[in-house]
């Protein structure tokens, strides 16, 4: 697939030389004039198990961003406006396809910039590659300590990592007097890392874990576990879950009447789908969310534009969508400042404090240390940030019975 590999394709001269090669002749767009489009490549799950997350939190934002920029005359590349050309394909939720496609995009197609794929696993595989080719990579949907520990200079993580998220949750529970928790976690990188961070956060907090169980991706029934948790009557339930299991755990808890004072589930609580499926039952449910349209005027503008483009049935989610948009805001600013010199973009991203719709973002290594860990709660149809108080859009309310 990638017959031509140039490890350092940063200079225009190399690009122009590549035009002479027969393979590149197949891409006449490489013969660019000054106003040629900015070619931005990515792969995205449009089929397969990652689709749910990718098509809610990530790809709609890429499309909206390109459309907005182009409507305004194009992306500001150090003062000159150039239209954005998105070069994208379906990665079929397959890591191998991701890696190969990015290798092609960066190695032989030599696109100007790349945008990240969806999910921790795909980013884990593609990030080192992007780093080798020297493409800045602002990943909105990757959550893993190990990605930070790889210390890749071109790689930036926008979402809050397990430690701040779990610290925030535990701090909130502690302040509200919770004494015992029951935990379920998905047995992959996401679940395991969050579970580890949760255990560390709980140690010395005065709260005890009365039961903890892992479950596999694609689980169909959690009621046997939830029933035994119900018998132990914990103050808080913490589900380190993915969207289908978030809904499964919520529905089944409602079915069996397991209604702890604090009911927390992870990915997917911030989705509009959660409200659609749980209806009034969503009230009081806690989860991973860090913004909504009340967070800032620019967040509201983004929310409205998203709903306008994709319809009221496809709102952005209240967690990763915001991070995706923030990443695109940062990239836009970086290109305006540094042009398409990828090293300069990288330096700009790493060395600047960015103003985004979800607040100030700054990076220490790969990690976003500007956004604190947050907890959000469904209240009357909106997913409100309730912790920490500085970021809160509403105050925590007691969870009513499931309805």
């Amino acid at each position: 697939m990638s017959e031509h590999r140039h490890p350092h394709p940063t200079r225009r001269a190399i690009v122009q030389a590549a035009v002479a090669t027969p393979a590149a002749l197949a891409f006449p767009s490489l013969l660019r004039a000054q106003a040629a489009p900015v070619r931005i490549g990515y792969t995205m799950a449009r089929t397969g198990p990652w689709t749910t997350g990718a098509q809610v939190s990530q790809e709609p934002n890429y499309l909206l961003w390109a459309e907005q920029q182009n409507a305004a005359g194009g992306l500001n590349v150090k003062g000159s406006k150039r239209t954005i050309e998105l070069i994208s394909s379906d990665d079929r939720s397959d890591i191998e396809t991701c890696v190969r496609t990015y290798e092609k995009l960066m190695g032989s197609d030599k696109v100007d910039l790349v945008l990240p794929p969806w999910g921790s696993n795909a980013n884990f595989a593609v990030a080192p590659l992007a780093n080798r080719f020297g493409y800045p990579f602002l990943a909105p949907t990757a959550l893993s300590r190990r990605l930070v520990e790889m210390k890749l200079p071109y790689f930036f993580l926008l979402l809050q990592q397990p430690k701040p998220m779990m610290d925030a949750l535990v701090a909130m529970l502690k302040e509200n007097g919770a004494k015992s928790v029951a935990v379920i976690y998905v047995d992959d990188l996401f679940g395991l890392e969050n579970y580890a961070a949760l255990k560390v956060a709980l140690a010395g907090s005065g709260m005890s874990i009365v039961e903890d169980k892992s479950y596999p991706l694609g689980v169909k029934d959690l009621s046997p576990v939830l029933r035994s948790m119900k018998d132990k009557n914990p103050d808080a339930f913490i589900g380190l879950t993915y969207p289908p299991d978030t809904i499964l755990a919520s529905r089944q808890s409602k079915e069996i009447g397991f209604n702890p004072k604090y009911f927390y589930a992870s990915v997917g609580t911030a989705f509009q789908l959660y409200r659609n499926v749980m209806k009034e039952g969503a009230e009081g449910v806690l989860g991973m969310g860090s913004w909504n349209s009340k967070t800032s005027p620019s967040a509201k503008a983004y929310f409205d534009a998203h709903v306008k483009k994709f319809g009221a049935a496809k709102e952005p989610d209240r967690w990763a969508s915001g991070a995706t948009w923030a990443g695109l805001e940062i990239l836009t600013a970086a290109v305006a400042k540094a042009g398409l010199d990828r090293k300069a973009i990288r330096d700009y991203v790493a060395g600047t404090e960015h103003n985004t719709i979800i607040g100030k973002i700054k990076f220490s290594g790969s990690e976003n240390v500007g956004t604190p860990g947050t907890v959000a709660q469904w209240q009357k149809g909106e997913f409100e940030v309730v912790w920490p108080k500085a970021n809160a859009t509403a105050t925590l309310v007691a969870k009513p019975n499931w309805v």
């Binding site: 089929t47 749910t52 098509q55 479950y215 596999p216 959690l222 576990v225 789908l273």
Partner: protein, 292 residues
Amino acid sequence: MSLGSWLELIASGLITGGVYALVALGLNLQYGLMRILNIAHGEFLMVGAFITYTAHVTLGINPLLMVPISFLLLMGLGLVVHRLVFRRLTRTSPTLDIFEARGLMVSFGLMFLVQNFAQTLWGGDLRGYDFMADPVAIGGAQFSANKILLLVLALTISAALIVVLNKTLYGKGVRALMQSPTGAQLMGIDTERLHPLMFGVGLGLSGVAGCLLSMTYTISPSMGEPYTVTALIVITLGGFGSMAGALAGGLALGVIEAIGMHFTNPSLKSLLSYGIFIGVLLWRPNGLFVRK
């Protein structure tokens, strides 16, 4: 553990098992009767789920009404698929073994086709709706109304199918075909008609299972595959071609999984199911419920 908890646990296993049974019965009809190991079987369950979802959300049709409708629609689809694919395959395959191998390959292709078709039509989003989700208390245990409905319907439909196969002339023909295809043909049983019909009924059952599942779980185009695998385990448990075996096997697997998950860990569920699968293949290859 209290009696109520046990009751809840076993009942939740039976509910899961009811769906397993329904899917397995359909697959068993196809495999037991025609040796079509339809890997795409679960995909038609997904189609049934999406049809119900769409009918309910956009047209406001009651999902219960969609039970017979999805059966008929999927049965129709089954007749078409059989006509386009498997009828031709039957004619061009020199032996039954070659037919089986080719059928397996073709159904793999069907799986991708149907999955991607659904993806194009409905998109990859996770979907779901709220229907009869209110909890009902029965003797100290508590279940959602839609789960109870699911169990009752799954059992009724399975039982009806078994009765039809055992009591009617058509059923007799089908059973005869399962026992000895050549013998049955010699006795004047019309395979040209029975095969597509039973293939259709198989898919219809899958559609019903999907319809019922859409009431209780979230649905997505990739939801079908795990059910195909489970159905294979179930018909191995129950014995290829044995309908009562598939019903009992489905329910048993559901209960075993529920109890296993309660006492160990949901992460070990696959280990449990596949362990049983391998065990049965090793020690009772004809199925747990087949007397030979």
